[in-house]
Symmetry: C2
Subunit: 439 residues, 2 copies
């Protein structure tokens, strides 16, 4: 079933799709908490001054006015947040006296962007972020932990193997230094487009920046180096460039590759064309692709930032990654990668023989609920056939008949006596299940 968007760019889920989203959020939450991240939620609204700190994206902001504020006193002073990083920066600075550093938090919330809606672009969507923010000095292993945690989180979802691609801004900067390229920002922007253009166009765009053939060729070669094995480090060294920052970045990525635990081998690779365009990153940068579905682009990106969270002399360097959850769900639905076993939480429908005996059905239902079994009582005392249909059309697996004291399993078509104090549903029928549906 496709997501519904009666207002262009503002998707809504059916109850069945919402079960999928809830399951995804629950699995992500579990992994984030396994790593000690605290749940944070910030208000949806920020002063425009905060929202405009990041520059480029400010054009997409939704600003707020009060309908009855005729004098316009509060007009357009505040807007809806367009990501969860800017609010985190504001929250950390505002509450640094209450927080313990390093501060590790996850945040799963809607964000809004007034972009032109298009394929896979939404104006209201959910992001799932993790960030680790330190006071003054960021422990270096946080840059290694972030992609390992996200790889584990994404691997718990019903999608083919996710692979986090890691690079370091130090490497890109160092390569530019060694090649004598001053206009690093322009190079980052072109490298960021590598996968969206042909090899010829990629080289052409670099030439247009004023780079000579040898500089272009070195960058083309660099962008092609990618792999999980530490040999990729040597491949970069073989480009024959000398620069301290480049060496530092290569050491970081090499340590990263050595730190991947056995159960995540292949989920994290070095990839030297990852640049993250104009963003505020200063160290490692990350993008994540689904194996066999790389054309959808990155589903989870981020990096290290040194200057985003700072005020006067206080600095809180951090590293974070963000999943575009709504977009990821739209990809899962489009590819039919997950099945939801039913559309309601209900496990048992208690049939009603007559309105006079509804109380007996209610008694059974309260007993089942007390034992954790999601139970509805039939809204009408219609013929059994009609009540069974109520269950069938919703995927409710059991119908309980009070008079006969029997329960019918609609999945395997069996019927047997049962007591409300002892009845135990099949484990896979207790709650709606999300079942992976791909090779």
């Amino acid at each position: 079933m496709p997501m519904m968007t009666s207002l262009s760019g503002f998707p809504e889920f059916t109850p069945e799709e919402k079960i999928l989203e809830d399951e995804l959020i629950s699995r992500l939450t579990k992994v984030f908490e396994l790593h000690g991240f605290s749940h944070l939620e910030t208000r949806a609204i920020e002063p425009l001054s905060e929202l405009e700190r990041k520059g480029e994206t400010s054009k997409e902001v939704y600003v707020l006015s009060r309908l009855q504020d005729k004098e316009g006193k509060e007009d357009r002073k505040n807007g809806l947040h367009f990501d969860l990083t800017v609010p985190l920066a504001r929250y950390v600075l505002e509450n640094s006296h209450l927080l313990r550093f390093p501060f590790k938090r996850y945040q799963i919330q809607k964000v809004w962007r007034g972009e032109r809606p298009q394929e896979g672009r939404f104006r209201e969507f959910v992001q799932a972020d993790i960030d680790m923010v330190a006071a003054e000095t960021l422990p270096p292993q946080f840059e290694i932990e972030a992609p390992l945690i996200m790889a584990q989180a994404l691997d718990s979802l019903p999608i083919p193997t996710p692979v986090v691609h890691v690079n370091s801004r130090k490497i890109l900067q160092g390569v530019c230094n060694a090649l004598g390229i001053a206009h690093v920002e322009g190079v980052l922007q072109v490298i960021d487009k590598h996968d969206k253009v042909s090899p010829d166009d990629f080289a052409g765009m670099l030439s247009e920046l004023g780079l000579d053939t040898s500089q272009v060729q070195t960058l083309v070669n660099l962008a092609d180096i990618c792999g999980a094995d530490e040999s990729v480090i040597q491949q970069v060294r073989d480009l024959g460039l000398q620069d301290d920052l480049l060496e530092e970045g290569l050491e970081d990525v090499a340590r990263m590759l050595r730190s991947v635990p056995d159960h995540e081998k292949g989920n994290v690779v070095a990839d030297f064309k990852i640049a993250r365009g104009l963003d505020y990153y200063t160290g490692m940068v990350y993008e994540t692709f689904i194996t066999g579905a790389e054309s959808y682009g990155s589903i989870c990106s981020g990096g290290r930032y040194d200057n985003l969270v700072s005020q006067g002399k206080r600095h809180f360097p951090g590293v974070g990654m963000s999943i575009g959850l709504t977009r990821l769900i739209s990809i899962i639905l489009a590819n039919d990668w997950a099945k939801v076993s039913r559309q309601v939480p209900t496990c048992v429908l208690v049939a009603v023989d007559s309105e006079e005996t509804r109380g007996q059905a209610e008694n059974v239902a309260w007993k089942l609920r007390a034992r954790g079994i999601n139970t509805e009582v039939s809204p009408t005392a219609a013929k059994y056939g009609k009540q069974i249909k109520y269950a069938v059309t919703r995927g409710i697996p059991y119908v309980w008949f009070v008079e006969s004291g029997e329960v019918k399993n609609l999945i395997n078509e069996t019927q047997e006596s049962a007591q409300a104090d002892t009845f135990t549903p099949a484990p896979d029928l207790l709650k709606p299940q999300v079942i992976a549906n791909y090779e």
Copy 2:
């Protein structure tokens, strides 16, 4: 710790308070699903035409513009929803072909109101709603089930006994009919203010509507009748009024009182001064008070509506109730009714002896996580005392020492050998706990 509001009316929680909110949402969700309600989430943004359907509250709407939309093409056409009922009505009408009726859904989302912020009033806050919507005919027991479900849900929260007060608009309308009062809306508005004014002022306000002494006295007497026992029905009959609608309403409330299961006795009472002001209710109406903290006003209100969800000839009567969750949490925090056992999900901190042996600490951590134990590795290889302090200040109960193969329980100050494959934390230390803290 108080909630933080650096932007007036937009509260934010500390990580510790967020654990409380998450626990409350989890408990409410559990009860709603026990009764077969599906989780729904609607977009935050609605066309102004939808938001203005309800009349009165439209003045509080935040309208949206795009910062860069210089031509104002999309200016002020859409706004943020101010409740979850109007979006439900729109969602049901729009997707009636996809939904199964009766449709039972819960919805726990932020809403926004541009009201002047004041004690306990927020501009951004979370509501937790249940609604049951039927096609054409609402099964009568739904009006009985709604308060029973909410009573169970609220009773699962760390608050003193919640009591749902039930009345029927039919009774209030019927009484006015019998007394020959035409201006029923005015009477509803005054009755709605009963608990906020003195008895004399209450009678005075009724007089000001043009009611004579006998009419006023009858309404004063009616408003004083309240109780869980079916004898309250007789007390209303003893007022000596004759009207078919009144009788119908009394039958509804009587059946309601008889349906309260033993485990909820006292959690649901009839209370004939519940009116719900200008709202769109047509049958039963509900308000909920916390025993001993009634002065905070109703924490959960609602009622039956026949005409909210309709389009042309199609009618979807429904019944619903809404918890003001952010307000309820502010009450819990102000009264210190709940304690959170720690501020992070982390159960075990694995100490690091040196950066060279960090890998061994990571190995222990991955093993513990694989067994569902939330584990952090110390960010620095500082002296043990400093690493233990990292745990103590966050409330992390266990510190793991790799070299000695021992784990220290910081709560009871014991230390013993442990294996990552078999170590089992005390059940109450595995996750942060929310502990009720009232008589």
